[in-house]
Amino acid sequence: MKAIISLFTKSGNHFEGKEDGEEVILLLRRHPFFIILRLIFFVFLVLLPLVAGLVFSRFLCAHDLFVLYWFVLSSWYLLIWSGIFYTLTVYTLDVWIVTNRRIIDNKQHGFFNRTVSELHLARVQDVSVETKGLIQTFFKFGDVQIQTAGANEKFKFMQVPYPEKVKDEIMKVVREKNF
């Protein structure tokens, strides 16, 4: 029981492959704007059977089909509930981690499709920020691009909130690490 409770209290920012003495400085995900857009679609799916129920209420009442309606409604909500959490899971696990030693890009494309790449801070050369368009400017998010010492290698944090602050933080960590 203690082990189960500790899952919610003691894990901190621990991740798989974290080295001893490694400290998480930034944990970044895409801006919530993208997940909110998807959740709005799910809200529409939640409302759909309720509207259908209201439209066909007289028919359902006349033929005594309300129990069947409740069953179909609950089955629909079961699927939507899982759909919502599938979307949230992929969003939550798609992260960029900046530690005091390296930068980790954890891309979750689906449940069993995952790409993890890492970059040591010593290889970071340049960090640039790109904010494109009205939505990105208004909601304060954008891309952070990290140029590495390799030929054309680049690390890109896509649509992260407050990209300038992220850039400053990365540069600060790189400076501390290299000097």
């Binding site: 899952l7 919610f8 209290t9 894990s11 901190g12 920012n13 621990h14 991740f15 798989e16 998480v24 944990l27 033929h63 005594d64 089909l65 129990v67 069947l68 409740w70 069953f71 609950s74 089955s75 909500y77 079961l78 509930w81 899982s82 959490f85 599938y86 949230l88 899971t89 939550t92 696990l93 992260v95 981690i97 979750q108 449940f111 995952r114």
Partner: protein, 85 residues
């Protein structure tokens, strides 16, 4: 093959759907607790599990209230009614 009545086939399919559903849910919970960083994904997994159990219980309860014989006769009446039209 006498044991393969429509009722048995229906129950088998229902059981299969339940297994697939809970298998999918297990994968969500597994990913959130194993790969999630920090406590937030674990809390999310817990709320997902509680919600899924609640809706599942509601679904099973409503399913148990369905009178399939009555439904069959009603569907025949409705089909006849629409076909005559």
């Amino acid at each position: 093959m006498d044991f393969l009545t429509p009722k048995i086939i229906f129950l088998f399919l229902a059981l299969l759907a339940v297994l697939v559903y809970w298998g999918f849910n297990f994968v969500i919970i597994y990913h959130l607790t194993r790969f999630g960083i920090g406590t937030q994904p674990k809390k999310m997994a817990a709320s997902f599990l509680m919600g899924a159990i609640t809706i599942f219980v509601f679904c099973v309860t409503t399913f148990s209230y369905i009178d399939f014989d009555n439904l069959k006769s009603k569907s025949e009446i409705l089909i006849n009614k629409f076909l005559v039209k």
